[in-house]
């Protein structure tokens, strides 16, 4: 590296400092945008007093958080998991069993579930990350389905009957709020902010660069010193960790879980879809996708009546087809394009 100064183009040091300065300014700007958006979302449930709409808001934020977690592995590292329902279930069950059977605060269950999920993700990653591309996705589906069958036949966790949370007075210690949904909005928002901050921080770190390199071209990545296998393992563990916390919060929110209601394949799809819809591997894609997807499905479901489990899946499928045909980079890329076009005109 000694000879660089002799050969540098005679442009002076301006572009270098200018680039660094612009980069820092851009990073800071996205933090400010985050702060404003999160403050607005935190205030939103006080403006919407309708319990049904608050329910939609809770689910939207929860799915945004879960999709943001999925995005760490699927969007940044490029490992498309369609088995995240397994980690969601682990979180939901760990939290429920500890609380219902042993009276231990759900907060402890959230932590324990998250750690178990991360360990399970590592155990699954050990063989499966040696599989390339689609084979990895198929393996995650199969493993998650096996987990579902296991839980259905495991009496200790309630088998197919599931686990019913007892009715308690509203309290933060038990995460029970029967009277008022606002705390759930804030819990879901809190998880989303946490996953957003992790994504924000990690994107500009050794891990983040490594993940994106692995996603784009693993052969080139390893030639540049990126430990491809270790990168995937880290992304999987972090992703599973936060997915399990989401599962625990969901269990506390709905107060009743059974294998089908937290571990079915449908959930694995629902964690991937918002990020895919909004923009895979982006900071805001998961939230944008969830804001579009969840209210539409919740509202259409209540108008179409019943749980009608088929109709929303048809809807998701259609949406994914439209996005992948019209705008494979996701909805967010629409705004990027217009800004670039505007710059080009000037």
């Amino acid at each position: 590296m000694a000879g660089t100064t002799i050969t540098a183009a005679p442009t002076g040091s301006l572009p270098l400092d200018e680039s660094a300065r612009r980069f820092t300014a851009k990073r800071r700007r996205s933090l400010y945008v985050g702060a404003v958006v999160f403050a607005a979302l935190a205030a939103l449930p006080y403006a919407i007093r309708d319990v049904y709409l608050q329910n939609v808001l809770v689910l939207t934020l929860l799915y945004a958080a879960l999709s943001q977690s999925w995005n760490i592995l699927g969007g940044y590292c490029g490992q498309i998991s369609l088995g995240h329902a397994l980690y969601f279930g682990i979180g939901a069950y760990a939290t429920s069993i500890l609380f219902v059977n042993y009276g231990i605060t759900p907060w402890a269950g959230l932590g324990l579930g998250a750690v178990i999920a991360a360990l399970v993700a590592l155990a699954i990653g050990w063989p499966c990350f040696r599989l390339g591309g689609h084979y990895f996705s198929i393996a995650t589906i199969v493993i998650a389905e096996a987990g579902l069958l296991l839980v259905q036949n495991w009496d200790f966790v309630g088998g197919a009957m599931g686990v019913q949370w007892p009715f308690n007075p509203d309290a933060w210690a038990t995460l029970q709020f029967a009277q008022d949904k606002v705390p759930y909005v804030h819990l879901a928002l809190g998880l989303f902010v946490a996953t957003w901050l992790v994504t924000y921080g990690v994107a500009e770190s050794r891990w983040g660069y490594g993940w994106r390199a692995v996603k784009d071209d693993p052969a080139a990545a390893q030639s540049l010193g990126v430990e491809v296998f270790r990168s995937k393992m880290a992304a999987a563990a972090i992703s599973a960790f936060f997915t399990a916390i989401g599962g625990g919060l969901y269990a506390a929110y709905v107060s009743y879980i059974d294998p089908e209601s937290v571990m079915s394949f449908r959930f694995s799809l629902l964690f991937a879809l918002p990020a895919v819809l909004g923009g895979v591997g982006t900071l805001w894609g998961a939230l944008v996708g969830a804001v579009i997807l969840i209210p539409i499905t919740e509202i259409s479901r209540s108008y179409l009546g019943g749980t009608g489990s088929g109709i929303d899946l048809i809807f998701y499928g259609a949406l994914v087809m439209i996005v992948s045909l019209a705008r494979p980079e996701g909805v967010l890329s629409l705004f990027k394009r217009t800004r670039k076009a505007r710059n080009a005109e000037i």
């Binding site: 540098a8 994106r212 080139a220």
Partner: protein
């Protein structure tokens, strides 16, 4: 530095690699001296890219050893070889197409720098070095083919290598682009980096390299100074062609 600095930077010792019945490299032995520019030439299918993959760690040989800085690296994974100072480009550019140019080079710089901020700064310096600063924020997928080759070189240089493997970086360039590329490779070598380059364009390679190795059907056919090789009968028959003899 250790006592190894006096020996060759790279020694390929009797290396053989076969894919099923196809022997891609047979009994290849060669030394690369510290600081030289070595040309690796030969017809398509001669095993040049396979040899690059063996040196950079994509493949492991069936037989033989590869020594870098005196240490046996035959079984080391590619990422570890990169940290030790071996960098490469790919024949078909493998840029990270969803990332911009600066981010691409930062990935490489992270092999040498502990933090992303330090790596980004080093990446910007490397972009100046290869004269690609005007494309810093362009998405790699939108670069022209010559720019992509330049990006490959920048990314590899950002890892701070002592040995750089260039796989056809001058192929497909216009004469003026190729001339700029030659200048860049010269500057890299002058900065103390040993270069091995696979190349087809004889007019460009021969004046540039200190020494050349000719591969043919997976084996070393000849090696020596460029001026000697272009008069070597075996080389002319196998690779350069009769037209070259007339000239």
């Amino acid at each position: 530095m250790s006592a190894n600095t006096s020996g060759p930077i790279l020694r390929v010792d009797d290396v053989t690699l076969a894919f099923g019945g196809l022997v891609a490299n047979r009994d290849v032995t060669l030394d690369v001296a510290r600081g030289e520019i070595l040309g690796l030439i030969g017809p398509n299918g001669a095993g040049k890219s396979t040899l690059f993959n063996l040196i950079s760690g994509v493949y492991r040989p069936n037989r033989g050893r590869i020594l870098f800085e005196g240490a046996d690296i035959t079984r080391l994974p590619p990422a570890e070889r990169c940290r030790r100072g071996i960098a490469r480009t790919f024949q078909v550019p493998r840029s990270f197409d969803s990332m911009n140019v600066l981010e691409n080079v930062t990935v490489g710089a992270l092999a040498r720098h502990p933090t992303a901020a330090a790596a980004r700064r080093a990446a910007l310096e490397t972009l100046e070095r290869v004269e690609l600063t005007h494309r810093t924020e362009a998405v790699a997928g939108e670069l022209t083919p010559p720019e992509k080759r330049r990006l490959e070189v920048a990314r590899a240089l950002a890892t701070g290598p002592s040995l750089l493997l260039l796989d056809e970086v001058l192929t497909g360039l216009t004469p003026s682009e190729a001339k700029a590329g030659v200048g860049l490779i010269r500057r890299v070598a002058e900065a103390g980096v040993t270069v091995i380059m696979v190349e087809h364009v004889m007019e460009v390679v021969m004046p540039l390299v200190d020494r050349a190795v000719v591969l043919h059907l997976g084996s070393v056919l000849a090696q020596g100074l460029p001026a000697e090789l272009v008069r070597d009968d075996a080389v002319i028959t196998a690779y350069l062609g009769e037209r070259h003899r007339a000239a």
